[in-house]
């Protein structure tokens, strides 16, 4: 009898479960060995075959290379290939990729991971097709509608097939569109407007995070909640990190971008309400969603009402409203880090913990440079900084190992 992927998954799950059973004295160690002895073939197969994630990664990399190759081939043979030839290439390669992918994954079922990568390639060729058509008809360079159409076109596919790769691609395309479109709406984009984009993307991160929570609350969508949650988490923290610097001297948004703020706030609130209505069973869900709501409100205030305090005569860190606001931003950011690590610990989510620890280190480095750069002699500054980082590294590594060890000892939620 052929061994399928699901058999290997069962074997791994069984081994993990039996560790609990032994710990909880449901079965003895010898009983565990006896049970496992029944599955020696699966054990051998599991050890000999490449890990599933490696196959997926290699297949996706292959798909990416083929996609880039097609685009480059068209670009470098532009005048040799007639218009219909270029368009046919896109349509034929898209159909082939989708068709073969579907056949390998669902019809024949013998190459599910490679099949998934081929379908992912199809969704990239679809995007390449949009840009190729734009190129054929000389549609101007700034073509945000193209990225939007790409995103809209592949979202249904991600939901139908429950593919995290395609969903991540669709969300990324949507984020690229947001930046491209927003730069059109801001008149005479200048250096002073950069903070409007920081708050905009920070808000986008919160929206994604909340949509991710909503997906977690809805049973059938739970499997594809992670692209929203992880991208949202990283984006929100990246934007928040910039706000911990001395940036409160200038405006942080523009009424011109209201056309983005309002729909984003609408999506956020809808996701929030749906999430609450699903009566989540996750620990600390109330604290998490209410914190997101509060931070979203603060960002909306900053974007719409805060015009900045341009005290140009004021030197750095000489007090005043901007310094007070920076301090508050640091406190909120630090609370966010603690909150995310806490959530990661209680829910056994490695992604939450990793993001929390990463931004914790970044925050420490930034504030260390802010406060001690002028106070300490340079040599001492670097030596002390190096020692703090190394010690911090050791503590973080130990803590992280403890947390991860506790996960493997306990039941993982995801």
């Amino acid at each position: 009898m052929a061994i399928a992927d699901k058999d290997l998954a069962f074997h791994r799950r069984l081994k993990a479960e039996m560790d609990f059973w032994v710990n909880e004295h449901i079965i003895t160690l010898s009983q565990k060995d006896q049970i496992l002895a029944r599955y020696t073939m699966l054990d051998a197969a599991d050890k000999k075959t490449a890990p599933g994630k490696l196959i997926t990664t290699i297949s996706i990399l292959g798909a990416l290379l083929i996609g880039i190759g097609i685009i480059l081939f068209v670009a470098s043979n532009w005048s040799q290939i007639p218009r219909w030839g270029k368009l046919s290439m896109i349509f034929v390669s898209m159909f082939l990729s989708y068709g073969l992918g579907y056949y390998a994954r669902y019809e024949k079922g013998n190459y599910p991971r490679v099949g998934a990568a081929a379908i992912f390639l199809g969704s990239m060729i679809f995007g390449a097709g949009i840009f190729l058509i734009a190129q054929i008809y000389h549609i101007t360079v700034h073509y945000p509608n193209g990225v939007l159409l790409w995103s809209i076109g592949i979202f249904p596919l991600a939901y139908l097939l429950r593919f995290k790769t395609i969903l991540s691609l669709a969300i990324t395309a949507l984020l690229v569109w947001l930046g491209m479109e927003a730069s059109f709406w801001v008149p005479g984009f200048s250096f002073g407007m950069r903070l409007a984009f920081v708050t905009l993307y920070c808000m986008a991160g919160l929206v994604l995070w909340m949509v991710g929570l909503m997906h977690r609350g809805i049973g059938p969508l739970r499997t594809i909640s992670s692209p929203y949650a992880i991208l949202g988490l990283v984006l929100a923290f990246s934007g928040g990190y910039i706000l911990t610097f001395d940036v409160f001297r200038e405006g942080m948004g523009s009424p011109e971008l209201l056309v983005f703020y309002l729909p984003m706030a609408g999506i956020f609130l809808s996701a929030f309400i749906i999430y609450v209505l699903t009566k989540p069973a996750e620990r600390a869900w109330v604290a998490e969603s209410l914190s997101l709501l509060l931070i979203m409100a603060i960002l909306l205030y900053l974007s719409l009402s805060y015009t900045g305090f341009p005290h140009l005569y004021r030197g750095y860190r000489e007090g005043g409203v901007p310094f007070l606001m920076q301090s508050v931003a640091n406190l909120i950011f630090a609370a966010g880090i603690i909150g995310v690590i806490f959530l990661g610990y209680t829910r056994k989510s490695i992604a939450y913990i990793n993001v929390g620890l990463l931004f914790f280190v970044l925050l420490i480095i930034a504030r260390y440079f802010d406060f001690f750069w002028k106070l300490l002699p340079r040599s001492l500054f670097f030596i002390a900084g190096g020692l703090i980082l190394m010690l911090g590294g050791i503590i973080l590594e130990r803590k992280r190992r403890q947390i991860l060890a506790s996960f493997t000892a306990g039941r993982s939620e995801s």
Partner: protein, 245 residues
């Protein structure tokens, strides 16, 4: 699931086909005009090489085309066109409302107004001859100053410096006019920068530079097809006898 999968792929195909059909219809049915252009060659991350085009109607002298309207960035503008002897179209007038007369017009979006000064300086040399020169700028000098102008064959000013200045830029043409400044006339003009959505022409990798150098040797014209509301789409690039589509 198979049916749903096929339906989604079909919808993607229909979307692509609709974009093609719409653009093809536009090219086939629009009013054809020619515009004079001057390209440069940047690169686009998504789409290989392209020539970035700028037209003589991309920067409109608002004083010359006599308009009293004020244009804010992002305003939709309609530029009425007039055919010149070489077959290309120049700007006749500009308005924020769509022209009703049956004249060709092109729709664009205002990028913002700029004020530019043009200068005319009269210089009297040692022999008493008066030279009328048009430097790109002329600030920091006054009437009576002795100034050295480096000029080309057509008396176009390349650079200049005050005779008593410690900074003396070199003159590549070795042609200089030295004299005292008799008069300085500064004319301030309002220019409106307009984008028409036809600023990119895609070519295969590396070919952008060839087009750019041919621009330097001769004229470069762009064929544009205009929709009824004045929106343009590029139909071809004309370099002498060569037409690129």
């Amino acid at each position: 699931m198979k049916i749903k999968f096929i339906v989604i792929i079909l919808l993607q195909t229909i979307l692509l086909t609709c974009i093609i059909a719409y653009r093809q219809y536009w090219v086939a049915t629009g009013e054809k005009i020619l515009l004079k252009s001057a390209p440069v060659d940047p690169r686009d991350i998504f789409r290989g090489d392209y020539v970035s085009l700028r037209y003589d109607i991309s920067s409109l002298d608002l004083d010359t085309i006599a308009t009293k309207e004020v244009f804010a960035p992002k305003d939709k503008v309609f530029v009425a066109l007039q055919k010149r002897t070489d077959g290309t179209c120049g700007a006749l007038s500009i308005s924020k409302t769509m022209p009703v007369a049956r004249k060709a017009f092109i729709q664009g979006r205002a990028l913002g107004e700029t004020r530019q000064s043009s200068w005319e300086v009269e210089v009297k040399d040692d022999s008493g001859t008066i030279h009328a020169l048009k430097p790109a700028w002329f600030e920091g000098s006054k009437i009576g100053d002795v100034v050295v102008f480096c000029v080309d064959e057509k008396n176009g000013v390349i650079n200049f410096y005050k005779n008593d200045s410690p900074y003396k830029p070199s003159c590549p043409t070795q042609r200089t006019i030295t004299g005292s400044v008799e008069s300085i006339t500064e004319t301030k003009k309002r220019f409106l920068n307009v984008e028409y959505g036809i600023e990119s022409f895609f070519v295969e990798e590396g070919k952008g530079r060839v087009i750019e150098s041919s621009r330097n040797m001769g004229d470069l014209k762009v064929g544009v097809s205009l929709r009824k509301d004045g929106k343009g789409i590029i139909t071809g690039l004309i370099m002498g006898n060569t037409v690129l589509k």
